[in-house]
Structures are given as structure tokens and as C-alpha cells.
């Protein structure tokens, strides 16, 4: 599903060059829930953005479903992301003026999904947001916000979910819900790449990789 082949990413800062990723290779097969652990600045987010076709590596290749997204045009790549990838972030990145339902429905605009509303309602029920359906961001708890973001990531039934520290701002209970949901997604044939320093996630993942100074230490 996700095949990362020997990628390197260097940030060219004014004072110095920072090698965020240094020959990283990994693959996440369908049904796999892979966690990448590492300290702050180890290159975890860079790896996630690169895998998510948002940040082109300087060297190496990334294949998603056998396709190199960076070989696509700007707009084709956007469409590719909408079809194949779901994102979950630590900061949730919900649209503040849209309700829970509207935030969840937003990715469906890109796919022109039939029965989008029904699917959104199923996700709302699944993530326990039925009471919050018309509420906007400011009216939600932190956990509800992340569950909304998670439902949004699931909306288009992506092949892979890329999660960047999704439990970083959550309490234990909500973190558990999020990790379990990702594990369930993997168990239905999806692929999950989780970037985290939350060691509790390890019990749900199929593999855990350690990233240090831009390199995978063990696989």
C-alpha cells in the first residue's frame, strides 16, 4: 500500500542545512497499523508529509497503491490525496465555522460521494458525536474535536490514514478511542501510519519503528 524507498529530505535553512530524513525506507501493507516513534525533531512529521504526498523528498521514491504521487500534476495529486489518503493531526484542524456534520462531510465535496450524508451520520454515531451534530468547534471538547477529525479522515474511505500525533492533546480515555479506531480501520484492510511519541499506542500497532536523526533505527 505505502512503499517508502530510501527517501532523503533536506531543509535548506539560511544558516545551515538540516537533513530531516536520511535514506528512510519503509512499507505499510493493507491491514497494517505502523507506528513511527521518535523524539521531537527526529523527522517524524517530515516522513508523514512526504508519505502524504504533501512534501516531495529530495531523493528516493514514494509509492501509494503502486503510484508515485509526485509524478502527478499539482491538481492530480490533490485528487489523488482526496481519494487515497486520510489525515489526522494533533491540532485537529477542523474548520471553526462548520458544524461537526459539515466538517465530516467536507471531504465528500471532492469525491462527489453518493449517500455522503448517510455515511457521515454513520461516522457520527460510530464516534459518539450524535449529540454534537450541529455544534461548531468552539462548542466541542478536545476529545470530540479529535473524534470529529478522525471521522472526517474516514469519510472518503481512504486506503491509508496518516496520523500525526493524534493523541498528543488528548486524555487517556480519548486517546484510547482514537488509537482503537485507527486499529479498527487497519483491521478492515486499511493501512495506518501513525507518528507518535505515545508509547501506549504500541499495544494496538502491528509494528513500531523508531526514527532518530532522520534514520530508521530498527524495523
Amino acid at each position: 500500500m505505502l512503499d517508502v524507498k530510501d527517501i532523503t529530505k533536506i531543509y535548506h535553512n539560511p544558516n545551515k542545512e538540516v537533513k530531516a530524513l536520511d535514506g528512510v525506507s519503509l512499507n505499510v501493507d493493507p491491514g497494517e497499523f505502523v507506528a513511527v516513534e521518535g523524539s521531537s525533531g527526529s523527522g517524524k512529521s517530515t516522513l508523514l508529509f512526504a508519505a502524504g504526498s504533501l512534501l516531495a523528498p529530495d531523493e528516493g521514491q514514494i509509492l501509494i497503491d503502486g503510484q508515485n504521487p509526485y509524478a502527478l500534476s499539482f491538481n492530480e495529486r490533490a485528487k489523488f490525496r482526496a481519494e487515497k489518503i486520510g489525515f489526522v493531526f494533533q491540532q485537529f484542524h477542523l474548520i471553526p465555522y462548520l458544524s461537526v456534520l459539515e466538517n465530516i462531510l467536507m471531504p465528500s465535496i471532492l469525491m462527489k460521494l453518493k449517500n455522503a450524508h448517510d455515511r457521515a451520520m454513520q461516522l457520527i454515531e460510530r464516534f459518539g458525536l450524535s449529540e454534537r451534530i450541529g455544534h461548531v468547534l468552539a462548542e466541542l471538547s478536545i476529545g470530540e474535536r479529535q473524534r470529529t477529525a478522525l471521522a472526517r479522515a474516514f469519510m472518503n474511505s481512504p486506503n491509508i490514514i496518516l496520523a500525526d500525533e493524534p493523541t498528543g492533546n488528548l486524555d487517556r480515555e480519548n486517546a484510547e478511542i482514537v488509537i482503537k479506531s485507527l486499529a479498527e480501520f487497519a483491521s478492515t484492510g486499511g493501512s495506518v501510519l501513525l507518528v507518535t511519541h505515545d508509547t501506549h499506542a504500541a499495544k494496538y500497532t502491528t509494528r513500531t519503528l523508531h526514527l532518530e536523526n532522520g534514520k530508521i533505527r530498527n524495523d
Binding site: S45, F49, L54, I85, F89, I109, L110, D164
Partner: protein, 430 residues
């Protein structure tokens, strides 16, 4: 859910920002519409003023023409019958005839059966020194009108000077301090002042009139006269009246010549024409004044309106930049989810389009209202101008097109920046 749904929700969420943009569009379109409305009010008011003035002039002219018509009915030619040898050049130079003819000519004319002349006024005129008063005057001896016996008798136009009396022109009685009833000596003969004329602004002001016989005696010209004034040579409908009268008189009195003398009726007619011309000139002056006022307002609008429109466009652009800055995170996640650049631009530009359309419509009505109000203040008396007259469908369409184009152009660069925003920069922030 459709993409425009997000746009509408964003407008409602950041309504203050939208309202500020909307206000700018209303001001821009309002100033454009207001300036044009003001000019329209000015034009309508000008039209009203000119129509009113032209109507007034038309009525005045109609009245004058009517008076002219009436005056023309009564209009007569006054002819001067002079001795044949009298030089016309001398007559004009001296102001009186210097040749003489028998007084009997008047009687001959009156008895001749001439039908085109109503009265004859014989006179003896001479420039003399008035030794008693030490000045030079024109002395006119007259006996009053001799009526044409073959015409219906009418009230004489000129009253005769009774024997033993004198009539003084304005300049004379003023300079001599004389009044009616005073006695005055002329060439050794005493006269009673019979009448003192009002100022005429002619040689008459320095003329004295006495009875003809007495003038003939004083001037030693007994039985002689040097002019016959043929009064009321009237014959409506006859062409070349002057020529016909001339022929008749010259046949009766072969030793004379006939010239035309200006009439008061003609002078009055000329005065009326001048009044008419003055009325027309007044209308032209008003037109000119209104045109100058319009030109000033046009200039003011030509400077102010583009300035306001550009300022408002810049303002809308700045609001757009501010909106992009506020929505960085939102744009980042939308880009990450797969929103294409065109869809991001749509979110920004469709909002600008709505702002432009709404602002355009409101701006038109605001401009119409403001323009009408300002027109009322500046033009004062504009009652009678209906709002419907100020509403211009072409202007409405123009504003409806201009306003959205203006806002879309102003928001284009911010929208481009939003569309090209790198989502990683935003999403990286924890």
C-alpha cells in the same frame, strides 16, 4: 454538501470582515451612482429651468407679437414734405430745412383728395440766436394740423401752439428756470409759456415752438414754410405705401420732395424686438451658467469617483489579504485533504463576487438616495423630479457588472496566495 456551502458559512462566521468589504463596495458604487445621479438631477433641473424660462419667453414674445400686431394695425408713416431744392444732406447736418415753399401748399394738399394721408402739419423752422437769453435755439413756427378734408376727421395728433404763446423744450426751460405761465421775450416779442416738454433726448430739447404766423413775422418769411409733416399715412394692405404716397404728393406739389420720418410706433416695435432678444439672451445666459455648473460637478466627480473606487478596491484587497491570513490553517487542511487550487480560489473569489453583487445593488440605491439628497441641497427647488426619472437601468446594469468585477480583481491576488499556500507550513505547527 457543496463547496458554496462552505463559502456561505465562512461569510456568516466572519460577517464583520464581510460587512467592511461590503461597505467599501457600497461606498465605491454609491459614489459612482451618486455622482451620476447628481448630474442627472442637475440635468433635469436645468431642463426644468430652461423649459420654464423658454415658456416664459414664449409667452412674453407672444404678448409682444400681439402688441406688435395691434401696433402695426395703427402704425402710420410720417412723411416730411420739403422744397424740391432742399439738400437732404444739409437737412441732416443742420437739423432743420433751409429752403422754403409757400404755405399755400398745405391747403392745396388738404383739398387735393389724397386718401393716404390723414393730417398735414406745416412748419417754419430756423436756427436762430435768442438775443434776450444769449443762446442759439431752433425756432419752429407751427399752426397745428391741417386735416385732410377727404378723410374721416380724427383727434389731432399734435396740439397747435396758440398765438402769443411759446412751448419750450426740456433743455431750454430747465436752463432758463422757466415754467408754464411765465412770460418770456423772444426777438423783441413777449410770449406766455404755454407748455414745458419732458426730456426727449433730441434736438427738441433745445427747440421753441410758437404760432406759425408769428414765426413768419419774426423771421421775415411771411407766407412761407419749409416743411410739411404728413401724419398718419395709413393704408393697411397696400404694398409699397411710401412709393404710392410719394407719387401722389409729387403729382399735387411738383416743387416738393418727400422723405420718410421715423415713427414712435416703429421705435416701440424695435424696443420690443430688443426685449425679445434680451429674453432669449437671458435663456442663453442661464444655459451657459448651468453648463458651467455641470462642468464643475463633472470635474469634481471625475476626480473624486476614481479616487474613491480605487481606495475601496485597495480596501477590499487588504481585507482579502487579512482573510487569507486568518484562514491559513483552514486552507492548509483543505489543501491536505485534496482541495485543488481552483477550489480554494473559488472559495475566496465567490465570496468577493457575492460581496460585489450585493454591494453593487445596495450601492446603487445608496447612490440614488445620496445623489437625490445632495441634489436637493444643491439645486434647492427640484420638486417634481420623480425617483423613477433618476433610475437608469443601464447604470443599474453597469454597477451590477462593475462592482463584482472590482471585488474579484481586488481579491484575485489574495486568492492566488491562498491557492498557492504550502499546507505543510501550516500543518507542521503543533
Amino acid at each position: 454538501m457543496k463547496i458554496w456551502h462552505i463559502m456561505v458559512k465562512e461569510i456568516l462566521h466572519r460577517w464583520r470582515q464581510f460587512a467592511l468589504g461590503l461597505f467599501a463596495v457600497i461606498v465605491a458604487i454609491g459614489s459612482l451612482t451618486g455622482a451620476l445621479t447628481l448630474l442627472k438631477v442637475h440635468d433635469l433641473h436645468t431642463q426644468m429651468i430652461l423649459t420654464e424660462k423658454e415658456e416664459e419667453t414664449r409667452k412674453k414674445m407672444a404678448l409682444l407679437e400681439d402688441e406688435m400686431r395691434k401696433a402695426t394695425l395703427k402704425l402710420s408713416f410720417n412723411l416730411l414734405i420739403l422744397p424740391k431744392e432742399q439738400s437732404i444732406r444739409d437737412l441732416h447736418l443742420k437739423g432743420y430745412p433751409s429752403e422754403y415753399m409757400p404755405e399755400e401748399y398745405v391747403t392745396r394738399l388738404a383739398d387735393s383728395g389724397i386718401v393716404l394721408v390723414r393730417h398735414f402739419l406745416p412748419s417754419l423752422q430756423q436756427r436762430i440766436k435768442w438775443p434776450e437769453k444769449k443762446r442759439t435755439i431752433t425756432l419752429v413756427g407751427t399752426r397745428g394740423e391741417v386735416p385732410n378734408l377727404h378723410k374721416n376727421p380724427r383727434v389731432p395728433l399734435v396740439q397747435p401752439v396758440p398765438p402769443g404763446t411759446i412751448v419750450l423744450g426740456y433743455g431750454l426751460h430747465q436752463s432758463l428756470g422757466m415754467k408754464v405761465g411765465d412770460k418770456v421775450e423772444l426777438l423783441g416779442r413777449e410770449f406766455n409759456v404755454h407748455e414745458c416738454y419732458e426730456e426727449r433726448g433730441s434736438v427738441d430739447d433745445f427747440t421753441a415752438w410758437i404760432y406759425l404766423r408769428e414765426a413768419q413775422e419774426l423771421l421775415d418769411k411771411e407766407g412761407l414754410i419749409n416743411a410739411i409733416l404728413a401724419l398718419e399715412c395709413l393704408c393697411p394692405g397696400v404694398d409699397d405705401l411710401l412709393g404710392k404716397i410719394r407719387n401722389q404728393i409729387e403729382q399735387i406739389l411738383p416743387g416738393t420732395q418727400v422723405i420718410e420720418k421715423g415713427t414712435k410706433a416703429l421705435a416701440r416695435a424695435e424696443a420690443r424686438v430688443r426685449v425679445g432678444q434680451e429674453a432669449k439672451a437671458a435663456v442663453e445666459r442661464e444655459k451657459q451658467h448651468r453648463a458651467e455648473m455641470r462642468s464643475e460637478r463633472e470635474f469634481f466627480a471625475a476626480v473624486l469617483v476614481p479616487f474613491v473606487v480605487v481606495a475601496c478596491a485597495v480596501w477590499v484587497g487588504l481585507l482579502g489579504f487579512n482573510n487569507v491570513r486568518d484562514r491559513k490553517a483552514e486552507i492548509g487542511i483543505q489543501r491536505a485533504m485534496g482541495f485543488r487550487a481552483g477550489q480554494i480560489m473559488f472559495l475566496f473569489l465567490s465570496k468577493s463576487l457575492i460581496m460585489g453583487l450585493l454591494g453593487g445593488v445596495l450601492g446603487i440605491f445608496a447612490g440614488l438616495g445620496f445623489g437625490s439628497w445632495l441634489g436637493l441641497v444643491l439645486e434647492r427647488d427640484i420638486e417634481g423630479i420623480a425617483a423613477a426619472e433618476l433610475f437608469n437601468p443601464s447604470l443599474f446594469l453597469l454597477a451590477l457588472v462593475t462592482a463584482p468585477v472590482l471585488t474579484v480583481i481586488s481579491s484575485w491576488i489574495p486568492a492566488m496566495i491562498a491557492a498557492q499556500q504550502d499546507p505543510v507550513v501550516v500543518l507542521r505547527k503543533k
